[in-house]
């Protein structure tokens, strides 16, 4: 293994190949973190709606989850990037294609976010439904409204319960962000492929990419474990940590 190529001037753009790697890491982080913000917010709303007593709230959320969960991510990327601008009204479509800044990046964020939201929604729903029915009744009996019961009784516990599976989703979004290379986002995997093409140092550059992905996901794992420990309610479920 010879990593000297990292410091050679890159073919185009003026920097070195190390700059390409760093730029790839930057885009991977931006894609994943922004995607996660969408996924967590939208997923929470959808998850709560899926447990709502009114069908008019429940059915659209269920349709959303089934649609986004069942279409391959690769296909969704393609649809957001190539198909949506064609079926949008002409002016909007042209704006999406030519005027919009960084179209491939924002399409990637939107696609990752909306896809992961369907998965987060299922976990939020599972968390809420894992809480004994008696607690809702007790909340309502003490005079809380249903939204207040969600806010003060159900959600505080269910979010604590689902921290481990949410960690998995958060890790997955970093790895799924590499799918954005198919619409031209030069994130870490795309940069690794590009550098391999220019320098032929395939094994070296993919070793670097592997280590970087591992470092990112390990950091996330530890951060989430810390969060789990921090928010633990003594005496309630599992007892993660001491």
């Amino acid at each position: 293994m010879d990593f000297g190529f990292l410091f050679q001037p890159a073919f185009s753009g003026g920097g070195t190949y190390l700059d390409w790697v760093l730029s790839g890491i930057k885009w991977t982080l931006c894609l994943s973190v922004l995607g996660w913000i969408i996924a967590f917010t939208l997923g929470s709303v959808l998850g709560i709606l899926r447990t709502a007593p009114l069908a008019i709230l429940r059915v659209p959320a269920t349709l959303y989850v089934e649609l986004f969960r069942n279409v391959p991510l690769l296909v969704q990327m393609f649809i957001w990037y190539f198909v949506v601008p064609e079926i949008a009204p002409k002016g909007a479509g042209d704006w999406l294609k030519t005027q919009m800044p960084m179209p491939e990046f924002w399409n990637g964020v939107l696609c990752l976010g909306t896809y992961t939201a369907s998965r987060v929604a299922e976990q939020v729903r599972a968390g809420i439904q894992s809480i004994p029915r008696g607690q809702v009744n007790a909340g309502l009996a003490t005079g809380l409204t249903l939204p207040q019961t969600y806010r003060y009784v159900l959600l505080p516990m269910s979010y604590r319960i689902i921290i481990p599976p949410l960690t998995t989703e958060f890790l997955t979004i970093f790895k799924n962000s590499s799918v954005a290379l198919t619409i031209g986002v030069l994130e870490l995997t795309a940069q690794a492929r590009q550098i391999s093409e220019y320098t032929f140092q395939t094994f070296e550059i993919f070793t670097i990419a592997t280590v970087v992905y591992a470092l990112i996901t390990l950091t996330v794992t530890f951060a989430m474990r810390w969060l789990e420990h921090r928010t633990r309610v003594p005496g309630y479920i599992g007892g993660a940590g001491k």
Partner: protein, 306 residues
């Protein structure tokens, strides 16, 4: 003096390799083929008319036909009439790692022989001569490279055309915004949908893409050559016995004139899947390459003579 040295070396080498194949121990790719009974052939999916999938999803094309002739020669040399041919799809980005990794033995695509790639792989004699041009929509008003200033250009990742276009952009400071794409079909789609105004590619492939477009007359291929691209069949580096068989088979096609028939079949007759005739007569540079078979690659500057 150099000439004499080269001559001596050539005579010595000729003597060395003149021994019949069966008399020597098989090595490298030939041994692998003999042992496994299979030759793995890399092909492309949309490099019309060199190597692409027809309406029955079978790999066909000018390059594939030439490869089949090479395989006939290998069958004869190894006395393996039942040698199995396995097709493996490759892309611009995967072709070299897949070849060096051993998952294919020979690549029959539309690969430019460049001095840079020769550090990784070997090439058979050039079988086609082309170069980088751009395809644009007629309605875009782009008439030359200068009109690309500040516009968006799509390229297929891992191609020599990407380099040629970027080098030109750096040199002329056009401030082009580049978007990468994973294959030619998707790059063309970006031009078709207006996401990019131009797509730099080997002109012959651009004519192929245009012929297969929904409305071929909406597009035109413009510009002078940004680079030279001699195409050749690719094989693993450092395997002289295999290269000798391949080179011999290609050279025999050239000497017998059979190449002209194959050329006419793909460039001057209707071809699948839409039965369109590309109607591209043989260029002088290709005639020259057929008269004097050679595996000279294009230099780092993108031209044959740097």
């Amino acid at each position: 003096m150099l000439r004499i040295h080269q001559l001596v070396a050539a005579v010595a080498a000729a003597g060395l390799f003149a021994a019949p194949v069966h008399a020597q121990e098989l090595t490298g790719t030939l041994k692998k083929i003999k042992d496994t009974g299979v030759i793995k052939v890399g092909h492309r999916d949309a490099s019309v008319p060199f190597s692409y999938l027809d309406d029955k999803q079978r790999p066909v094309g000018y390059g594939v036909d030439i490869c089949m002739k090479i395989i006939d020669r290998i069958k004869a040399d190894l006395k393996m009439p039942k040698l199995k041919v396995e097709f493996v799809p490759v892309t611009s980005q995967t072709r070299i790692p897949i070849l060096t990794g051993g998952n294919i033995d020979i690549e029959c695509g539309s690969t430019t022989n460049s001095v840079e790639r020769q550090k990784q792989v070997d090439f058979a004699p050039t079988y086609f001569m082309t170069g980088t041009k751009i395809i644009v929509k007629k309605s875009s008003g782009i008439k030359g490279y200068g009109d690309l200033k500040g516009k968006t250009v799509v390229f297929t990742q891992g191609t020599t055309n990407e380099r040629a276009m970027k080098a030109y952009n750096d040199e002329k400071k056009l401030g082009i915004k580049f978007i990468p794409s994973k294959d030619h079909a998707e790059s063309f789609l970006a031009v078709e949908t207006g996401r990019a105004v131009a797509f730099p590619m080997d002109d012959i492939l651009l004519y192929g893409l245009r012929a297969n477009a929904r409305n071929p007359n909406d597009y035109e291929v413009i510009g002078e050559f940004l680079s030279d691209d001699p195409y050749a069949i690719m094989m693993r580096k450092g395997d002289p016995a295999f290269k000798k068989v391949v080179d011999g088979a290609v050279t025999a096609l050239y000497k017998s004139g059979e190449i002209n028939k194959i050329y006419t079949k793909w460039f001057q007759s209707p071809i699948p899947p839409k039965n369109i005739n590309l109607n591209v007569p043989m260029s002088d540079s290709l005639k020259e390459a057929i008269k004097n078979p050679n595996d000279t690659g294009v230099g780092a500057c993108g031209k044959m003579k740097c």
